[in-house]
Symmetry: C2
Subunit: 476 residues, 2 copies
């Protein structure tokens, strides 16, 4: 635990693979020093003993509340965050105008199975869904995911409500992989079913739990295809509906939702705050999270946690008087949940202004105990980040692997579509076991975030920003 | 993620340290094969999709409940566990008689500050404390930990209640280190203060949280020193009492407890269940947890989680038809919390019977997301275990470091005090951030255990038992 006083110049990071065929040896330079270990210790010490992220999250969740794009709460959150980071003393704090769709849930959400005794299913509209235009009554047909549609005859879905019931695979240790494997039924289920004449869609909630919360989330239609209403039902109720179909051969379901997308887009904002680089102010390391949330619960893990962790990164740099060489820029993106206009606008504006980004880092996987970073980069860049494991493992960070960066930072890489680009992306990777217990539900509330886990994530973000900044020349 | 089909014979585990002075290269044999990766995958798959540990924990917590040594619930737990593991088809299931003290909390627990308005402090007696014999009224003197006593004059404590108020250090990432650093005030605080004439002791609860739960735990007296009552107060109330002393110079506190230790010891039991080794039945790999708990909450994390994980190991071996080469033996120890008679008796009986243990493994750090194992062993043995990281890291297991084994398995090593002994100890190391939020309180209940985290821990225990068994010859 006290290695930090001993090392001076070290070489580590061997990967050695030997088989009958080949021997590969990859030696990387370990480029950290005693100063780095002291700085990182001080970041964690400050976050754990004097951290502000937990009380900030309390405010964001309990005073401001859930904050879907276009809502007053979303606007309030941006105003609040701006004031807070101005207090921390960022060099530049400004809003970036974006334009986004405004979806409104409405006050009518009901799904029930018809019968001698009506069975109510706990449900909520998927974000972006059209209204059912009053009660929509139709027979139900159950399928697994999208892929399962092709196992039916073209006429099987006409006039019916399609019930997508593919569960998340509990065997996958990384629950995000399980989510990724079947979220297409939620996003594209309505568009696909509508092609075959379906009149509505019910989707099993995206969680490994069997519980009573419906999990909302985004969905989209396709041009030229009839828009039909789509709703999530809780996993408990998905099991009940599925069993009902086994016991009764058929079921008539009524779904009634009055959600809608407003005719006019809304003008809203990303919030940006910077500390100017002392050596290369024109080179940017961006780190961020999304300040909007679904209109369920309080958006505590998704992504209140990431929001306050990023604010904490700025505070830690100021509090500990760390002067970055490059400009470090926090972006709190609006509209990640239903349109990603924040991330896309940021990327477009960056391109227009011909800005140069070294790296983009995101925290949007919940405020759980951090384990490392998922890295979307060249293999030498990944190896470089992984070479810091010796510095970071005492803080529980051991995962430095190729993987997905994040929804908000993705567009930056797409816009910077150049062969010679060295831009790379990283996503904070917290322990993933509990994320989908709360994701997009009324249970995603402040009480379900642990203070120490949240604080460790903020310090981890600050540490990686510090290291990427200091050693940015190694990532070219 | 799909490495498992590729490797055949591999050499890994390089440690390379280079400085101006020296080069050390340590090459270890990686001794696992494709079969191992398939077996471990099947252990996790079964635990995550068909695991029984969560429903077992539900029963242990909600039907049986808290279970301090000597209570009817503790006896019920042993009877229940015996029936359950018999159902799984262990080759031998038997009880091991132990004799232990029986401490009873009583129905009177009150601490208050005297004044115009009485201030009640949330409190509970420490396990083993004597009664206050009616209300005990005395002035309070605040100190930090045990070490702080020597900063006072000998006469300062006479007739007073000593208030130990050393907080756990939030900066330590491993909260068990923070606990270890100041738990002496709870265990020995009364004995030490009594030497200087103190009449009672209040101890700040052992948690990094500021909350309203008093955390109980064990304490001990010293022969020849007057026994004085000792209680924990919540961290919130410790802060209130400390501030009161700042504002008022002095405080008169009344403490009233009617707890006591029964005159006669009780006869109770460890529960043991084995699968006989196919090649070396006389060689034993023991793995265990403690079935008793404090008389607070439901003993869910401490150590209901470990208990059901160990039962799950047996079930997994039977369900997947894994035949160990050596005998694998589950021990559910009684009395870990207040006397450790279970662990000590097991070790003594093992010595008497001249049994040969390869390894002892314990799960007693809560049912949180597993990260690896803390290993009390020779460095070559630690290196051997660590060489399995390539197999286990996809399950989130990355921590294989020298460290403490566990309270229940410790006596086995002490009894086997031989120079040539190759016995080594391992403790499952789950993420430690939340453990002390619940530890020894009314909040240590089933609802605070996450199903997937619990199940991953059971599969981790099964995996390490499988590997140590298969490669036991490498640990001699």
């Amino acid at each position: 635990m006290n290695l930090r006083n001993n090392w001076i110049i070290l070489l580590v990071g061997f990967t050695y693979i030997s088989s009958a065929q080949s021997v590969v040896v990859d030696v990387r330079k370990k480029t950290y020093d005693t100063t780095d270990s002291l700085v990182i210790r001080s970041l964690f010490d400050e976050a754990l003993t004097n951290g502000k992220s937990y009380s900030q999250l309390n405010y964001l969740c309990k005073v401001i509340g859930k904050r879907i794009t276009g809502s007053q709460q979303a606007e309030n959150a941006v105003v609040w965050a701006q004031k807070e980071v101005e207090k921390y003393g960022a060099d530049r704090v400004y809003k970036q105008r974006i334009q986004a769709e405004h979806w409104i849930r409405g006050d009518k959400e009901k799904v029930s199975i018809e019968g001698d005794r009506e069975i109510l299913l706990k449900s909520c509209a998927l974000g972006g869904s059209v209204s059912s235009n009053g009660p929509l009554r139709a027979p139900v047909i159950e399928v697994k995911g999208i892929e399962d549609l092709k196992n039916y005859d073209v006429g099987d879905f006409a006039g019916k409500i399609v019930f997508y019931n593919e569960p998340m695979d509990k065997k996958l240790i990384n629950t995000f992989e399980a989510y990724g494997a079947c979220v297409s039924q939620r996003y594209s289920g309505a568009a696909e079913a509508s092609r075959y004449g379906a009149v509505g869609v019910l989707v099993r909630s995206m969680t490994t739990l069997t519980d009573h919360f419906p999990h909302t989330g985004s969905m989209g239609y396709r041009p030229g295809i009839q828009k039909i209403p789509a709703a999530a039902i809780s996993t408990q109720d998905a099991d009940i509906l599925s069993q009902y179909l086994v016991d009764n051969d058929s079921a008539i379901v009524t779904m009634e939702f009055n959600c809608y997308t407003a005719d006019r887009t809304v003008k809203t904002n990303n919030l940006i705050a910077e500390i100017t680089g002392s050596e290369n102010p024109e080179q940017i390391i961006v780190f961020g999270a999304h300040i909007d949330s679904w209109d369920k619960g309080e958006g505590a893990h998704d992504d209140g946690a990431g929001t306050v962790q990023c604010m904490e990164v700025l505070r830690l740099f100021r509090e500990l008087d760390i002067h970055p060489r490059n400009t470090i820029r926090m972006v709190l993106y609006m509209n990640e949940e239903n349109g990603n206009r924040g991330g896309k606008t940021y990327a477009q504006e960056a391109k227009k202004a011909n800005e140069s980004h070294i790296c983009a880092i995101e925290s949007d996987r919940g405020g759980f105990s951090p384990r490392g970073f998922s890295i979307d980069a060249r293999s030498d860049q990944i190896a470089q980040v992984a070479s810091w494991e010796g510095l970071l493992e005492e803080y529980g960070l051991h995962f430095f692997k190729k993987g997905y960066g994040g929804v908000d930072i993705g567009p930056l890489k797409i816009e910077e579509n150049r062969v010679d680009s060295s831009l790379f992306l990283m996503g904070l990777y917290p322990d993933p076991q509990r994320y989908f217990d709360y994701h997009h539900t009324d249970d995603d509330v402040f009480e379900n975030v642990n203070q120490r886990e949240l604080e460790l994530g903020g310090a981890s973000m600050a540490s990686i920003v510090y290291l990427v900044d200091k050693y940015s020349y190694l990532f070219r």
